[in-house]
């Protein structure tokens, strides 16, 4: 009864973060002086006051059940007075003040099946989207490919043997939830066939002017079919972006035979050394091959290993390619250069090679 009387509240916003900060952070907020990487997955931040904060970072599948979250909470209680956080790449981090508790915590995390790492010159967790788990527009699954790729590359997560950071991301369609377009390696779900318009449902489900204006190449025109207002798709103009499907459920592009992934390389968001860059197309198409997408796993490993063997220290994927040039990149990786690699959308001419500076 008391509960029923409680007024419905709205617009309270998130809880204030101060409630969740451990005392060592409250006391040293804004006073951190430097940090060191003690070993893979373990950071120490040292304050101007001399106080130390140890962070232990563990990989996570991002898709977590409440049972696992409760286990995280138990570990946080056992080792760090209940304080923990998550990172921008969906790792979990435990915040300790007692150095002697680091190794027992790592052991417990490993027992739980969560590798510790992702710090320094390593591969961090793969930022990814929902895929077939929860998205209507997915051209591929997200979690399954991420799991398969990380199973294969876990040695680069738990160690720091790479020349630089390697940021991998996956988006299951061109909407690209997450910064897939600026990653060292990006795995992108793609369609390859135009929308299959459901003429009988279109007029009742969708606003036709909105569908027409959604197309970046003006491939969709209003028309009348069997006396009903509908749309016509000029198929040779369609570049399979699925933007029309986003505004109109009667225009699905999903096609098990032709959906798959493309692989992009050389993007970054950090300003360190070079300015932020977009990822560029490396592999135009790999078919969906669930449950473990072996062709994708192999392609990613190939890219990682060739970059790792040839990059200078601190050189990110894109910086390495810019130094050696794209012809060498295709030669070294064994990837065939095809028509799809040449841009033909807006300002495509800016991506042509406009000098005689070439290696021979």
């Amino acid at each position: 009864m008391a509960e029923e009387k409680k007024k419905r509240v709205t617009d309270i916003g998130p809880p204030h973060y101060e409630k969740f900060l451990p005392p060592v952070i409250k006391e040293n907020y804004g006073k951190w002086k430097y940090h060191e990487i003690l070993k893979p997955g373990v950071l120490v931040h040292v304050s101007e006051t001399g106080a130390k904060l140890y962070s232990v970072r563990a990989g996570s599948p991002r898709l977590l059940g409440i049972e696992k979250i409760r286990l995280y909470a138990d570990l946080a209680d056992k080792y760090c007075d209940g304080y923990l956080r998550f990172t921008s790449r969906n790792n979990v981090e435990f915040l300790l003040t007692d150095e002697s508790k680091i190794d027992p915590l790592i052991k417990d995390l490993q027992k739980l099946g969560h590798p510790v790492g992702g710090v320094g010159n390593s591969i961090s967790n793969i930022v990814h989207t929902q895929g077939w788990v929860h998205c209507h527009s997915a051209a591929t699954d997200a979690s399954g490919i991420v799991k398969s790729v990380m199973d294969d590359l876990v040695e680069y997560f738990t160690d720091m043997k790479l020349p630089a950071k390697l940021r991998v991301a996956l988006a299951c369609c061109l909407n690209m939830c997450g910064a897939v377009h600026c990653s060292d390696i990006a795995i992108l779900g793609i369609h390859r066939r135009p929308p299959k318009t459901n003429f009988s449902k279109l007029n009742s489900m969708c606003e036709i002017p909105m569908v027409v204006s959604s197309c970046p190449t003006a491939a969709i025109k209003p028309t009348t079919i069997d006396g009903k207002p509908s749309v016509e798709v000029i198929e040779e103009r369609c570049m399979f972006c699925a933007n029309c499907y986003t505004v109109c459920p009667a225009m699905p592009l999903n096609d098990p035979l032709n959906d798959g992934v493309s692989i992009w390389v050389g993007g970054k968001v950090s300003n360190a050394r070079s300015e932020p860059m977009f990822s560029k197309l490396a592999i135009p198409f790999i078919p969906n091959n669930p449950p473990r997408w072996p062709e994708v796993v192999e392609a990613v490993r190939n890219l990682v290993e060739i970059w790792a063997a040839n990059a200078h220290p601190y050189e990110r994927m894109g910086e390495w390619v810019n130094r050696i040039g794209w012809p060498r990149f295709f030669e070294m990786t064994g990837i065939e250069f095809q028509k799809e690699h040449i841009d033909d959308f807006k300002h495509a001419g800016l991506t042509y090679k406009r000098s005689a500076q070439l290696t021979h």
Partner: protein
Amino acid sequence: MANGNGKTPKLDELEKGAWPSFVKEIKTEAKKNPMAKDLLGQLERSYEEKIGHWKHGGIVGVMGYGGGVIGRYSDLPEDFPNVSHFHTLRINQPAGWFYTSDALRKLCDIWEKHGSGLTNMHGSTGDIIFLGTTTEELEPVFKELTEAGFDLGGSGSDVRTPSCCCGEARCEWACYDTMKLTYFLTMHYQDELHRPAFPYKWKFKMAGCPNDCVASVARADMSIIGTWRDSIRMDNKAVTEYAKSGMNIERDVVGNCPAKCMEWDGEELKIDNKACRKCMHCINVMPKALRPGKDKGATVLLGSKAPIVEGALLSSVLIPFIKLEEPYTELIELVDAIHDIWAEEGKNRERVGEFIQRVGLGNFLEAIGVEPIPQMVAHPRENPYVFYEEYFEEDDEEESEEES
């Protein structure tokens, strides 16, 4: 077919291997939760057929809010009735993603009662994601969330949940208090966050330094990236220690400086701070020896987005340096001026970056009352098709040079 018999041979393959398995997570919840069980069944079907089985979202939500819930329905409701409605809730995360174990347990208890028991920690926008529940459960779960001090985040054409790096809470490189600003903006724009009224989404992302750990430059309509304008703080003794420990300072530090503003003679590192571009490389490599300066603030950039609709954009500079301290008046006035013109003139589903491309940055700046400065461009225009707006008339007092 996977429904009914509960067998998932394809997904079982994804329980193997060293990386933590999302299939194990779903299976664990499936033991006690029918929604999680049907999710597993439907996902197995997707793995067999190589196609997703979710329909477009309908409009669902909690009373008075236009965002925060993503409607989701199965296209196989007869086979998997427990996921016939499977809506996602976005719950506004605490800034910096810090939690106590008690807060996490509270969230788990709520979700155990009202949904699938499955989450994302976290979604791409930064929110806590509660993955899958029915329309009837939305109000009850919202009620319990607000009682626990949590609220929904953004979705659709609204201010999306602002997010940030951990900033001054745990990073010596933070050039402003990212968590404080994130909390401030989230609270200041509560109405815009919960009630979509813009042409399209608007994202704020706060990064404490130019390393940009939250990828703000690639995925925020307004990217606020910490920087400084005085000299890098340096401890030359610590530099020498790095050299002694085997670091090749000439090759790996000086050689990687994009501004070529450093010199190393084997004993002393010199930096021409006037030429420094604040890229962070030297600081990243020698965190014990170098730190950002003391006159700190941020660069405000505008307009990044993923490809849909007109192509991907990176944010570009709007304000090269701004001090970010309460009450953030200058920043709020700027944001409101941008929202006003974009809400008024922007086309449906046009992000602010695309809007600027369409009307021209010069015109956009005039509309928001910001002077054009060279920091805003990589270089001045190369094409001579200039829309000159000023010219002389015959009867003007001053004659042009050609005529004299």
